[in-house]
């Protein structure tokens, strides 16, 4: 039964991806104008390849399946020094190795991105080694000097932007908090040491590309929910912090304890 559902899911993804590929790359359909687009950020001479290349499409598909938010089902990549970085307010920087040193143009591009209010998710796919996370932090310190990442836990709106979550999740269990660089009270850079991309990636048969440890399918589901919440946070920012929602959510959390 589970296999059949996975096949149907894969079929749907492939149909959607196929339809999107038929469209000219620069044209956005009306209604997709503001759709969530989990673009992968590339720096230096890096390319986006490997088993995790299906993760962005999976993220977009899960978002459209679970929520009313539109998403670009065939996400692309964007280079840090490209003007295209400023086309949309979200990018996903994922990797497992040292990112090297950002060029001056890349630093300037990212600064302009953050100056307009862009949000960057930094996803360490090999948090056991931590080389990517450390180097990304180092380079982002050049982009946003005088800022330091701070831990954010369940009290942050990102953990209730769609699902009520107690902790972050990904391919690995990782720490029980995310980290974020806050500017003007808004989280603009999110650091995950959980390999969210690894939890989302699937192979051509619709099977998960990576095993999720230690929680298995439940942890993978929670990783998907984290991804959905990140997307909703990007689209709605602190909407769920509004007073009109606060009493309701406080009651629900109290009941869950």
């Amino acid at each position: 039964m589970a296999h059949r559902r996975h096949r149907l899911t894969l079929l749907a993804v492939l149909v959607c991806v196929g339809l999107c590929l038929l469209m000219p790359g620069t044209v956005r359909a009306f209604g997709d104008e503001g759709a969530f687009h989990p673009r992968v950020l590339l720096v230096g001479d890096a390319t986006f390849e490997g088993l995790r290349t299906t993760a962005p499409a999976r993220w977009a598909w899960e978002l459209t399946k679970r929520t009313s938010a539109p998403a670009r089902l065939a996400p692309g990549t964007v280079r840090a020094d490209s003007p295209a970085l400023l086309n949309e307010p979200f990018a996903w920087w994922l990797g497992g190795t040292d990112v090297g040193t950002l060029t001056t143009r890349e630093v300037a591009g990212l600064r302009a991105f953050f100056a307009l209010g862009g949000v960057l998710l930094v996803d360490d796919t090999d948090p056991g080694v931590g080389a990517f996370g450390k180097s990304a932090r180092r380079e982002l310190a050049r982009v946003l000097p005088d800022t330091v990442p701070v831990p954010i836990g369940p009290e942050h709106v990102i953990f209730r932007s769609f699902y009520l979550l107690g902790r972050p999740a990904g391919r690995v269990e990782g720490p029980d908090k995310l980290e974020a660089i806050l500017r003007n009270g808004q989280a603009q850079v999110l650091f995950s040491s959980h390999d969210i991309a690894g939890a989302l990636a699937q192979d051509r048969s619709g099977m998960a590309s990576f095993a999720v440890t230690p929680g298995g399918d439940r942890q993978r589901e929670m990783a998907t929910r984290v991804a959905v919440n990140v997307a909703m946070f990007v689209l709605c920012s602190n909407y769920k912090d509004d007073q009109v929602h606060a009493p309701f959510l406080m009651r629900r959390r109290a009941r869950d304890r």
């Binding site: 104008e33 503001g34 679970r66 009313s68 539109p70 307010p89 307009l116 209730r160 699902y163």
Partner: protein
Amino acid sequence: MPFSLSTDLPLWAGVLAAVLFLAGLGMVAWELTLHRQRAALVASTALVATVLLALAVLRPVRVDARYTQVGPKVVLLVDQSVSMDLPGDGAQRRRVAAKAIDDLRLAHPTVRFSLLGFGSGPATPLDNVEDSLPADQSGSDLLAAVASLADVSDEKPSAVVVVSDGRLDTPVEGASKEQLQAAFAGLGAPVHTVAVATSTVRDASVREVRTAGAAVAHQPLRLTVSVACTGNLPCDSVPITVHELVEAGSPLALASGTVSVVDGSGTVELPITLDRAGSRVVEIAIRAPAGDELPANDRRFLTFDVTRDRVRILHIAGRPTYDARAMRHWLKADASLDVVAFFILRSLSDDVNATPDELALIRFPVEELFSEHLPSFDAVVLQDFDAVPYGLSPFLPNVSKYVREGGGLVMVGGLHGFSAGNYGGTSLEAVLPVVLPDGQQRVIDATPFSPRYTNAGRDTPVLEALRALHGDRLPEMSGANVLDIPRKGAVVLWEHPSLTTTTGVPMPVLALGESGNGRVVALGVDGTHRLAFSEMASDMAGRGYGALWDALLGWLMRDPRYEPARLELTVPCRAGSATPVRVHTVPGLKGEPQLRLVRLGSQAAAPTVTAPKDRGRSFTTNLPALDAGGYALRLRIGEGPSTRHDFACEQGGQEWADPRPDAERLRSIATATQGTPVLADAVGKLSFPEATPVATERQVSPILPPWVWTLAAAIALGLHWITRRWAGLA
């Protein structure tokens, strides 16, 4: 004096002549005491010669003068306030005043009367009492008028006569004698008073309306209303109602109650809440008992200048998108905005793969919002929101009513906006500034385009800030909601470069319009977030988005910065009289100003208003005589958006609220200033200082030519010398 000495001699010369004259006579007298022969003859010739010699020096002249009697200057200060239109003793008070002045002039023909009127400001000259009414009759500020008399450097009056009913703003009722003396001291003259009325009508009235603090939108305001009955009108309990007058609709009931009248007066406190900022006209009315002879003061029309503490916005987004994100960021960044937001995060077809307890979602409270809380918002933003699936359709009549009653509405396009959101053919469509295509027509056009500014868009202050940042450049949109022709009175600011409406004109993309008392913005695209986040936006640090929406919301909320003009009545409107209105237009606007007057709370047509032909950026025009009530004056310049000013017009206003004359106050003024208080039929009893004679003509002519005096003196001296020799003197 008919005679005088020559005026060309200095005083010392006259004195010297007199001294020499006396010295000469003295010497002759002394001489004759020593030599008495023919002394009388010598003395007489000496006297004649000395006199003639003195006259030859002094040369006397004859003076002919004519005199006239100049009467004292007396200022007649006539009350020109509206209360003078009330009944007085036997006739209208103003008419009684006119007759009293005529009588006064007849009784004192030598007195120089200056006729001045007083109202809300300085005294102004009058031709006559009944026709020369001042522009502002809403008050009777006697002390301001007296101060203006005391300030002039002209001849001071020897007396002032105040002709009034005594119902004055100043001096206040109950002022002491010392206070009155101090108030009138600058005149330096007695103030006589003429009371034109002593009896009152049988009347029940709204005597006074007070508020505790300023009117703030959405916040309760306590009205303290005093009701009084005079003239022995039997009053016990008087029902009272408070309504807000709105355009194109029935007045909104704000409060009601009953006033218990004890000893002729009573007070009631009525809390009201005005939900719309700006000038709002409120009617306060009582149901007077039978026998009320002055129904005009049974109701007051008052203009409340309602301010906002914070602008309350209801933001509803049909889907979380980058466009909704940009709108939310902008709304939340402004501390002056109080935002209540609802994003539809999940549709019924979405598979959340979770139990409800695992979701941070709440039900969209469509019924509470749109049936109960809607009036508490200043503006509603419907962004890419489909009316059908989330239950808004049944409440669309409420939304359109909300707009007509003064609320603001923004409809932002997207896949679920306008016709695609099932608004076509609904009551809400009727308040939009554009017609929507019907169900048979295409409702979305997915061709990318960049909107184009219209001429109105280039001229309006609303888009000035955006154009200052980006010029005429606008970001590319991925498509548009198909909109049809703009409605009458709507203004299109952006248009589609290639699509046209059913009438062949370019399709509106951004349009502004008014419906009833409210304003509506229609934006048929979902890509203005590119002014906040795009390569183009980066050039201006994303400020274009705020520049656009600050202005659109400001226009929606009637922020004066985005209005094409400012309208102000120079004096309060009085029913039955023309009212001057001053218009200040924004520089750079092109087109003819069109003024339109609308009566609030009534379908009745209001008189037309025309702008003067020769005018600059600021001009004054006259509103025609209006009936009592509330009015909205709209001004539109060319094809641009219109501006509006609401105002109340009253027949008597506060001046008629208390119709009782106050002869006692007039008596106090006269007594304190050494004047005389009289009634209108006894002005003959007033007395003024006597007339002063003043020379009007003076003619001087010599009695004899100077040579005659000299010759006579010479002959007399010769005779005296002969006589002296004859008498044996040297």
